[in-house]
Structures are given as C-alpha cells and as structure tokens.
Amino acid sequence: MLIETKRNSKKILLGKLGLDGHDRGIKIIINYLRVSGYQVIYSGLHRSSRQIVDLAIQEDVDAIGISILSGSQMEHVSNLIEQMKSNDLDQIPLFIGGVIRSEEVIALKNLGVLEVFGYGIPVKDIIEWIDNVLLN
C-alpha cells in the first residue's frame, strides 16, 4: 500500500550539460531518487543551459542537479546560473556532481552552486542533503 510522503510532491531535475556522454553516475542517482520517493526528470545528454532552463520553467522543478565529467564545469555552470538568474530561477537550489577539483569547488560555490558532490561520495549522503534542503 502506497503511503504518501513529503518527498512525493518534490520534483528534481537532473541534467547533463555540453559535450559529455558519461551518464552512468546520473542514472544511478535517478534510480536512487525515484526509489526514495522523489519525482525525477532527466534532461538527456548533450543539453545546452538554455534547454535546461526551459525544462525547469515548464516542469516547475524544486531542485536542479547537474552531472559534469567533461572538465568544462566552470564555463557551463556559470552560463547556466546566468540563464537561471535572467529567468527568475535563481532561488532553485542547484547542486553539481562529477569529478571536480577542490579549488573549482570553491569557485563554483562562489558562483551560486549550493553543493558540489565529488568523486566517491555515498549516494545516501546526496539524498540526505536533498532532504535537508527541500523538506526542512
């Protein structure tokens, strides 16, 4: 019997930006979030920041997660945050996952990224963080 939880009403958009075809990690996150009770929307591969923002507007998402393994996170994420600001979406929590150097983590957080999940972080920690941000 299905018991409705707070998580059921929250929509999370997961996306991949730019020329980056490594989607093994994001697929694991998709399944883990779905099993935990969230509604997950996946953008697909090779998206531009404009397409991600269009999707976020139409689906009225509660959080945006971006996976980047191509090394071009600074360019893509700053572009995305610019687009989000110009569309009044800057209050939506944005989190990044992927292989990201520690000095870039600080730079990304300065740009407006709420959290960066690097290499080797347990999936449970990501869910806990999302719970904290969206449900409390």
Binding site: L2, I3, E4, T5, R7, N8, S9, K11, I30, N31, L33, R34, V35, S36, G37, Y38, Q39, V40, I41, Y42, S43, G44, R47, R50, Q51, D54, L55, I57, Q58, E59, D60, N87, D88
Partner: protein, 270 residues
Amino acid sequence: MSKFLNKSRVFQSFTPILCKIEALNPINWKHGIPRDKTDFSSIARFISKIENNNLKFTKIKNKHKINITSITGAPGVGKSSVLNELINISLNKGKSVAVLMLDPRSSISGGSFLGDRLRLNLDYPAKGVFLRSAAFSQSNLEDSIKIKSILNLFRYLEFEDIYLEAIGADQNNLNFKKFADVVVSIPNNLNEDWVQVLKSDNLDLADIFFVNKNDIQSTEAAIQAVMLKNSLSPDQMTSKKVLLGSARNKQGILELYDEIHNITGEKNVN
C-alpha cells in the same frame, strides 16, 4: 484602494467571456489562474498548485471546440515518437500545442522517473509548445482528478491541440477515454497472437489504431493491421480506423493527424 483595484481586475476578466466564469470554482480565483498561454512559468506554477494543493479545475465551455488526443500503447511501441511527429504537424499548421505526458508512479515509494521528454524535439519549448510531465498511478483516484484538472486548464487557456501521452499500458487502457476526445492506440507489432488482440480493452476504447514501425517490421505491421481489422465488429468497422505508418520515416503521420480531426468533426484548413 487596493480592494478597488482587485475588484476592477476581476471585473475586467469577467466581461469578455462570461461562459467560462460560471463553471469555474470561485476559490480558484484566489490562486491566480494564468490568463496568457504564452506565459509558461505562471502556467507551470499553477499546475504545481493543482498537483500539490489538490485544487480542482472543473470543466469549462470553450468558444471553439478543443480536442484532447490521448496516445496509448505498450512500452516501446513508439508513443513518444509518434507524438513528436504529431506536434510537428500541429506547429506547421500554426496551432498552439500543449502536451501532458504521464509516467508511472512507483507503487512502493511513490516516486517516479518522468522520462517522456527525452524522445521529444529539444526545441519545442522555444517554439512555443508547452510540455509537462506528471506521475500517475492507476490505483490512485487523486491522480486522475489532477490529470483532469490539468487538461481542463489547457482547455481554459485555449490551446488548439492538446495531447495526452498515456503510460505504457496495453491490455487495460483504463480510463484514458474519459480524459480525451480521441484515443489513438499503437499496438505492439510483435504480438501476433489474435487471442491477445481480442482480449485487449483497446478494441473498445481506441478510436484509431496506428500500426507503427512499418519501416523496420513491415511484415509484422501488415499482419497486425489485418488482425485488428478482422477483429472489429461491424459497428466498430465504421467508427474505428486502422492506419499503417512509421514515425521514424514520417509515413502516415499526416493521415493520422487528419483522421484525429475528422473524428471530432473539425475541418482541416490546408
């Protein structure tokens, strides 16, 4: 002063189209119904209110007849690809389009993966198509009410072509008939068992059968089409259509579009 302003705004909205207001629940006005079908962010936020606050949006009368087309079929038969081509034709004919895509809700956690968007053209939002995904569980009555409310909102905003992509259910297409004016069913070509065809609820529920994948499975598609035609009763023969085509090659899609509009009696311009 502010009271007066509010009243005057309400009055303005009342004057042009009286028939709409009568049927609307007055509570709805407090929640800011969007007026403009190009303002995607306010439409999206209102749909979230329908989903989360259980707002009901009751059926309203439109000046023009607006068709809701539902597309059903088993997983993997090409619902999204056919939908993609139908949207393209609607756009070429200069119509405004809204799409609601349903995906199953997990029966254990209540979570869902809304992945129908992946098959659609990426530029549709920029071209003015409103796309929305929603989680749907067959057993949940509230979900059906929400979907009806969202479709009524699309009707109220006077989108000219409204599509509903149903979840991948084949044998029992449950209540999609009650949501839509026209039901398009896409059968599974690899299912050559006539017993399954006759058992399926589709024979009753669907108005049009679109046998897809005529490019790669042409033999199977032809068999499927003949099997469907032979299974129809004399009454159904006149009211239901069996079409053969391929979404990938854009074959038969225009005929499908015309047939959808013929059924609801709308004349096609062009």
